[in-house]
């Protein structure tokens, strides 16, 4: 091999650069943020569906809602959990309890690197802080 020493040195340096981020952040995983409930949400104790489902499936529920409301004019949702009927609206219904968007929605969304465009149109509640 011609110039074997140079090539191998180059490879080692290249590999080291490539793997640097992994070694640098090893063991320093960012902790999942805690979402914060408002007093009203705490008092209600349960959301419209089970908490586990809401954590993993709220986006699917909202996606179904938006189609059902706009396209089928089906504006009311009956909870499988409590049997209560709710007005299908992120802006009016969800945000009434979860009026702390920055601490309830944004924290996890930022952590997960998702950027939902709900708020381009739907109006987020005013937060005092």
């Amino acid at each position: 091999m011609y110039d074997g020493g140079k090539i191998i040195t180059g490879l080692v340096i290249g590999l080291a650069l490539l793997l640097f981020p992994f070694f640098y952040t090893a063991g320093k995983a960012a902790r999942a943020p805690e979402r914060e409930l408002t007093a009203k949400a705490k008092e209600a104790e349960k959301c419209i569906e089970a908490t586990a489902f809401m954590k993993t499936g709220h986006m699917k529920l909202l996606d179904e809602w938006r189609d059902e409301v706009v396209r089928d004019a089906d504006r009311y949702y009956t909870s499988n959990l409590t049997g209560e009927v709710h007005y299908k609206s992120i802006q009016v219904t969800c945000m009434e309890c979860h009026s702390n968007k920055t601490k309830f929605c944004d924290r996890c969304h930022t952590y997960a690197g998702v950027d939902p465009f709900c708020w381009d149109c739907h109006i987020a509640p005013k937060e005092s802080e």
Binding site: V70, D72, A73, Q91, H122, I123, P125
Partner: protein, 264 residues
């Protein structure tokens, strides 16, 4: 082995029977019943409006426009080229081209007309929309699904009434001086940059059994300036007005079937 003729006829006969037992049989035996179960959104088959120009004046029109635009968070952009409008005023000549009779009465000649989406029976905007963002509901309302609009503006080219506006910018960045306190209605969304918007006959209010915002605003001043109801129901308020008065519609010759009528 193929199917011989006798077997084929047997299968064909059986499939016909099965077909008859489905939706078709329902319709043959109990016409209308299936439709009634599948059909209506809201309580009308064909929402429509009558604008009584004898009872309208310009301040009242402004009041209706204000009520509509405040309710739906429609900002005043300030420039006619980029304006967004759901309900607006226009002269007779611009509203009813082809009806430009000479020697018109002063009232007709001078007065602006209150214009809005005609919620056509045969809406051209719906036909051209490539994503089906604009569609016609079963109660006759031509409505937009903003989640689907890609801002291609085919609908704006198709609509012969200029009922559609494009958001050239973010409505929330509309000039603050012209829109103090925007967005005004915290219960209704704004739109985003790059979508088309238009009057939706207040579908969200109708769902709660309320009249459209403009109709409600007009009724505070004059009884019957804007008459809203089901055009398919002969007993409805707009049908009563249509029976008693001569009315005109905007460009009916285009075959769009506009559902907003003007008493002049």
């Amino acid at each position: 082995m193929g199917v011989n003729r006798r077997e084929f006829l047997k299968i064909a006969g059986l499939s016909t029977l099965v077909g008859l037992g489905g939706k078709t049989a329902f319709e043959l035996l109990a016409p209308g019943e299936l439709e009634a179960r599948e059909a209506p959104l809201g309580e009308a088959q064909k929402w429509g409006m009558v604008v009584d120009m004898h009872k309208m004046d310009e301040p009242l029109m402004d009041k209706c426009i204000e009520a509509c635009h405040r309710f739906h968070n429609v900002p005043n952009i300030g420039t006619p080229k980029e304006e967004v409008k759901w309900l607006w005023k226009e002269t007779y000549h611009h509203s009813f081209p082809g009806r430009e009779n000479e020697y018109l009465t002063e009232e007709v000649e001078e007065m602006p007309f209150l214009l809005l989406c005609n919620h056509c029976t045969n809406p051209p905007c719906v036909r051209v929309c490539p994503t089906k963002a604009t569609f016609k509901r079963e109660d006759g309302i031509v409505i937009m699904d903003m989640h689907r609009c890609i801002g291609c503006r085919f609908c704006m080219a198709a609509c012969p009434y200029g009922s559609r506006s494009f958001n050239w910018g973010d409505p929330r960045k509309a000039p603050e001086a012209l829109n103090p306190g925007f967005p005004w209605n915290p219960d209704y969304p704004t739109r985003s940059m790059g979508v088309v918007e238009k009057c939706n006959f207040c579908a969200e209010r109708l769902a709660k059994g309320q009249y459209p915002a403009c109709v409600e605003a007009a009724a505070e001043e004059v009884e019957g300036a804007l008459v809203f109801g089901d055009l398919a129901d002969p007993e409805s308020e707009p049908r009563a007005v249509l029976r008693e008065h001569y009315t005109i519609r905007r460009k009916p010759e285009l075959g769009t079937g506009p559902n907003v009528f003007y008493v002049i």
